[in-house]
Symmetry: C2
Subunit: 285 residues, 2 copies
């Protein structure tokens, strides 16, 4: 395993029911300290593990088109089971329900995450990108931050992030910054060829917008995350190990919840994924 | 029932298990021809019926924060069962899984829709709207179209839509219009006080962006729809029967799928909901 990339180690899942070939299949995995958040695992890694479970399902049809992950309870460090169930298979689309469970201190299995996904066989059609890629210096013209800012979570070390705007604040002075825009070049560290699982994790790299907007540390937690995939496996493979341009922003912060959406682009200018999430927050205590 | 609003008739659900008070509860409903799409029911109405099932659940905690609906199979005109299951109840949040089933011609029950939702008790916090409301003439300064364009689905009659940009094309000339933006004032017809269910349905009023972008009728179908709620019941009640400003746009059309996202604003300038959906499309045959 010495040569295994940390991302591949973290998304390794073992079949629980090797004799079953269809229906709901269970996989065992373990949270990885390399992808830890400040408390519990990085949500993007949990989403990648969910996607991995259905990608490995022998009955899978096509490639991911949409994924929604609901974080229903705190995920503890340690072992988990992901069960991926293809609830409906049509001619060119397949609909999935996925749950992640963990054993509680009391010994019973509790659901910590639910998810739904759509996979589909894509065929060449008329295609067009309507969203405009943000202007940005090329990634190799942008310095990589030499050290992590105070309070950065461990999983930041597993990404080569070159911030163009909206890096994690270095001063927590509580001043409202008027906007919550982050723009950056992003890839795995060490570099790793892009695939659906790593793209999924990167969709959650944008830290909670309220920290940026308020320059204030407040408790937050994503409750629901959706990813739409705008590329196939071949397009992702062509991106290889190069950086993605990401841009994220919140729309509204209201009574304990805010949304944030983001787009991830290849350096060549293809919109690869659009994502949004709804995030719980508390006012500072 | 003479005074019942068509929207309330269409979202009326009857308890299937009146003796049960918790856990997964089933409700029976019927698709309504007043909210018919060109084939089957208007997806926004199905989403509203899903939300209604959990709003009526006696064990519900708080108000809707996020909803994702997956259209897994065509919904036939006629009866359906919605089962709403609160899979996890925390101190201030509750996570739901919902399924809609119908009896097939062969007599077995088939899943036609799955959904997840988050409801939550909201508390007053620091709040801010970062997205900018599009500039628009006031709704009463905008003429309402006198007749429905050719090919408009039946449910269009249940909405008072005042198009500012991007109405359903009147000429299907196949010319690429370069953008897929619709901007309009929207409310129920006849007027009805806004609530979570009607707001949910309106999130899906924006017809498939590819029809607008290509000025071409092509087969389409939403596979997944997400709504984020940025207001509470009190804020929605204050909107009353007035129009909402809606703006929708697609980001990328690629090999059979495109996304579209939309925002709905009160006339007073509050962002009430953000929504996105992933839509299947075919090239014209």
């Amino acid at each position: 395993m010495a040569d295994t990339h940390p991302f591949d180690r973290a998304t390794t899942l073992m079949r629980v029911d090797p004799e079953k070939s269809g229906g709901a299949l269970r996989w065992r995995g373990t949270t990885d300290p390399e992808y830890a958040n400040r408390v519990g695992p990085f949500g993007g890694m949990s989403a990648a593990q969910v996607l991995q479970a259905l990608l490995q399902h022998p009955g899978r049809l096509g490639e991911p088109v949409a994924l929604t992950v609901n974080f229903v309870a705190p995920i503890a460090d340690g072992e988990f089971i992901v069960a991926a169930n293809p609830v409906r298979t049509n001619r060119s689309t397949q609909h999935w329900l996925v749950t992640m469970t963990q054993q509680s201190a009391g010994g019973e299995r509790v659901v910590v995450l639910t998810a739904s996904a759509v996979t589909a066989t894509r065929r060449p059609t008329w295609s067009a990108t309507e969203a405009e890629m943000p202007h940005a210096l090329r990634p190799h013209s942008v310095a990589r931050g030499q050290e992590l800012p105070a309070g950065a979570p461990a999983f930041f070390r597993r990404y080569d992030a070159r911030w163009l705007a909206g890096a994690l604040p270095r001063k927590w002075d509580g001043l409202d910054t008027d906007d919550s825009i982050t723009r950056l070049w992003l890839r795995d560290d060490p570099p790793r060829p892009l695939d659906f699982a790593s793209l999924t994790a990167m969709c959650d790299f944008f830290y909670p917008r309220i920290l940026l907007r308020r320059s204030m540390r407040v408790p937050t937690g994503t409750v629901s995350l959706t990813v739409y995939y705008h590329a196939g496996a071949a397009e992702l493979a062509r991106v290889g190990e190069s950086h993605l341009l990401g841009e994220a922003r919140g729309q509204r912060f209201f009574n304990g919840y805010f949304d944030q959406r983001a787009a991830l682009w290849s350096e060549a200018g293809d919109l690869l994924a659009g994502t949004q999430q709804m995030v719980y927050f508390k006012d500072a205590d």
